[in-house]
């Protein structure tokens, strides 16, 4: 035990000797959280719309006014030239073009159906679909208005309607900060632990100081534990800092038990550090470690469901995520923080994280060779 404590002390001295790193491990997460968390929303607003009004009747102007009144659209330009409209789409100046054909007003006021043509930039499929759905909504409202002003037509009230109400639990206003903060925090904590712990070990190899440890009676497991503990502590401090920022700056709710959250995060960090040390035993130079770590981390992060819905991924990707600690932790964090899930609710995540932690650490201890 005393051996481990001395080794841990050595690690801390080594980490904090580099002035930049000792500031950055706490500074970078704080700065990035403050900048990145409020940036992200999926909420679509201010869709730039370009109008080609070939009709210029009272009806077409009525429709345009209605669109102008909605907060969703922003009419940025109107033109008569289709080519100009296409150029606007090409240069991202507008996302949608609505073309009102000649004779639109005439047809409608005489009770005959008329067409409208919309062109949507669907490069981002979601934004494209949603904007089209909104435009459709405004048009059908306008439709209803015209019909109710014309007494001769069928009354819509007579038709059976299903009313839909919707509510968002745990996040009434759909505040994206609630969603982003746990995600960004997990990434930062992972990245710092993963990078520094692994680099630290490879650096000793590269510079040769690992020889000095190898000739001492220090056991393999003692050495690995001593390499893990400092980064575990740093990771937990970063996590605590992040949560304090979340609470104070973004007033993120905290429904569940803090103890549970830290328990889960500790197991997670052991898993990540175990993997980092395992990879570092396989790498000869810091450069090799850096690229391997980059590969693993980007895959873990983008496949974890932090930014994109987990269920949409193909089955094989969801299966892969069983061994992805980031995927488990992100789910766990959101459950505990926002929904107040208990240890029973999260038993599955905790079990998987523990198993991953155990395996990676064992791998690291086994793979570390004291002989050159």
């Amino acid at each position: 035990m005393r051996t481990i404590l001395y080794l841990i002390r050595k690690e801390f001295l080594q980490i904090f000797r580099n002035k930049f790193i000792s500031k950055a491990i706490f500074g970078v997460p704080i700065v990035q959280m403050l900048i990145l968390v409020p940036a992200i929303t999926f909420e679509i607003k201010n869709v730039n719309l370009c109008i080609i009004d070939n009709d210029f009747s009272a009806e077409s102007r009525g429709l345009v006014n209605k669109l102008e009144g909605s907060t969703f659209f922003r009419i940025t330009s109107s033109t008569w030239s289709e080519k100009k409209a296409n150029d606007l789409l090409h240069s991202n100046k507008c996302l949608m073009v609505l073309n009102i054909p000649e004779g639109f007003g005439k047809e409608i006021s005489s009770g005959r159906p008329s067409k409208l043509h919309a062109t949507v930039d669907a490069l981002n499929a979601i934004t494209g679909q949603l904007s089209w759905a909104y435009l459709n909504g405004v048009i059908s409202d306008y439709n209803t208005n015209i019909i109710s002003e014309n007494p001769g037509m069928i009354q819509l009230a007579a038709i059976p309607r299903i009313n839909i109400t919707n509510r968002y639990w745990y996040n009434e206003m759909l505040d994206y900060k609630y969603y982003m903060l746990p995600g960004i925090l997990v990434i930062l904590v992972t990245a710092i632990g993963f990078l520094l712990a692994g680099l630290n070990m490879v650096r000793e190899k590269e510079i040769g100081t690992i020889e000095q440890i190898n000739v001492t009676p220090v056991r393999k497991y003692q050495f690995i534990i001593a390499k893990m503990v400092p980064f575990l502590i740093i990771g937990l401090i970063d996590l605590a800092l992040g949560l304090i920022i979340g609470k104070l700056t973004f007033s993120i709710p905290f429904e569940g038990s803090i103890m549970l959250l830290f328990l889960g995060s500790t197991i997670f960090l052991i898993a990540v550090l175990g993997l980092a040390l395992f990879i570092s035993t396989l790498s000869g130079t810091q450069q090799q470690y850096m690229f391997s770590a980059f590969f693993v981390m980007i895959i873990f992060i983008l496949m974890s469901g932090i930014f994109t819905p987990f269920e949409s991924m193909p089955m094989w990707a969801q299966k892969f995520d069983l061994v992805n600690p980031v995927a488990h932790l992100i789910k766990f964090n959101r459950m505990v923080m926002l929904k107040g899930s208990t240890i029973q609710d999260t038993a599955r995540e905790i079990t998987f994280l523990s198993a991953i932690a155990l395996f990676f650490t064992l791998f690291a201890v086994r793979r570390y060779r004291k002989t050159a």
Binding site: S91, N163, N166, Y168, Y170, Q286, F291, F307, K339
Partner: protein
């Protein structure tokens, strides 16, 4: 010039000696494009939904069948009363619950209206919004079918839509260019960020400093080999995304390659600058990895459109170099536009490259401390 070529040759030897890194440099982008092209999507599929049907009549049955046959949702079972909702959400696999009021069917026919509510788990707002939107569309559709002709005849305005650039609404049109942007900058910056610090840390920097090479020559010599490697890389990536995802290059291939080279050069010079400013490799890796990864993923418009962000971020995203390249690559590959639409972005990347190289040269210390 001869000296410079000799130096470039030395750098090439450094790179080729470490064949593992070389494999990784070529392997990573290929593997990641393949994985993320298939995996990263923002639409929903098979989201778990439970039903609380207080009515249990034929209409609600038909409606739930219609919803679940759409392929967007998976039925996670029925709830019996309101109090189960919280417990169900807390388990984490159910993203939404549909509640049908009592006597739904008879209300619909006798009183002309019936109500259902969609309760979603707001802890994942993107999923919640999508589920609500998709379900609403399906229910409205169902509603129209119920009253088939009655409504159609009153639809005076019949809007038609054309989904431009991406008629099949595929997610990877958006994500493959994004992943290319992300991976290129990270790989390039990581590669060069360790080159100079490595020489500093191992003491070989002294050898370079006493040689007649000028700082600019050292910097360009470090960049050149990686530039060639990355250029082969981008060609491989483009071929892959074309073969596997059928992603077209609608615009000019030459222009796309030229823009990619410029972007690569910018990323490499950024790496060099980081390398010159750092004392150890650890520090350089820390800066280029942590400093670039999240801002590139979040602020470049890769997953999250910049237009939806609060106003300040219009400015913030302008400092993030990948945000320019994403516009360029999407424009050329998918929209098929030419230089006339992207010359501004191109100029910005060009000046950023000059800035990074200029700063590197001026910060380059020719003396040992």
């Amino acid at each position: 010039m001869k000296r410079f070529l000799g130096f470039v040759k030395k750098e090439f030897l450094h790179i080729f000696r470490d064949y593992r890194t070389l494999i990784i440099i070529f392997g990573i982008p290929a593997a990641q494009i393949l994985i993320f092209g298939f995996v990263v999507r923002t639409d929903i599929k098979d989201a778990g939904v439970a039903v609380l049907d207080l009515s249990g009549d034929e209409i609600t049955q038909r409606l739930t069948n219609k919803i679940f046959s759409s392929g967007f949702f998976v039925n996670n079972g029925n709830l019996l009363n309101y109090n189960d909702i919280d417990a169900t959400f807390k388990k984490g696999n159910t993203k939404a619950i549909y509640v049908f009021e009592e006597n739904f069917g008879s209300n619909l026919y006798r009183e002309g209206k019936a109500s259902m509510s969609i309760i979603t788990d707001g802890s994942e707002p993107n999923v919640a919004t999508l589920i609500t939107n998709y379900t609403t569309a399906i229910v409205n559709d169902f509603n129209r079918e119920l009253n088939n002709d009655a409504v159609n005849s009153v639809l005076l305005i019949q809007p038609e839509v054309k989904m431009f650039y991406n008629p099949k609404l595929e997610s990877h049109f958006m994500f493959v260019p994004g992943v290319i942007t992300l991976i290129l900058i990270l790989i390039c910056a990581l590669m060069t960020s360790v080159t100079i610090t490595r020489e500093k840390e191992f003491g070989t920097m002294e050898v370079l400093l006493v040689s007649p090479l000028k700082p600019l020559q050292i910097i360009l010599g470090k960049v050149t080999p990686y530039f060639l490697l990355s250029f082969i890389n981008i060609i491989l990536i483009l071929i892959l995304s074309w073969l596997v995802f059928g992603l077209p290059i609608k615009g000019s291939v030459v222009l796309l390659l030229f823009e990619s080279m410029l972007y690569i050069l910018m990323s490499l010079s950024l790496g060099i600058l980081i390398s010159i400013l750092s004392k150890t490799m650890q520090q350089a890796i820390f800066i280029s990895f942590l400093g670039l990864m999240l801002p590139t993923i979040l602020l470049s418009g890769f997953i999250f459109p910049i237009e939806n962000m609060p106003k300040v971020y219009d400015v913030v995203s302008k400092i993030v170099p990948p945000s320019y390249f994403i516009t360029i690559i999407k424009g050329i590959m998918i929209k098929g536009i030419g230089i006339t639409f992207v010359w501004k972005q191109t100029l910005v990347i060009f000046f950023m490259t000059l800035l990074f190289i200029g700063l590197s040269v001026s910060k380059f210390k020719v003396r040992l401390q």
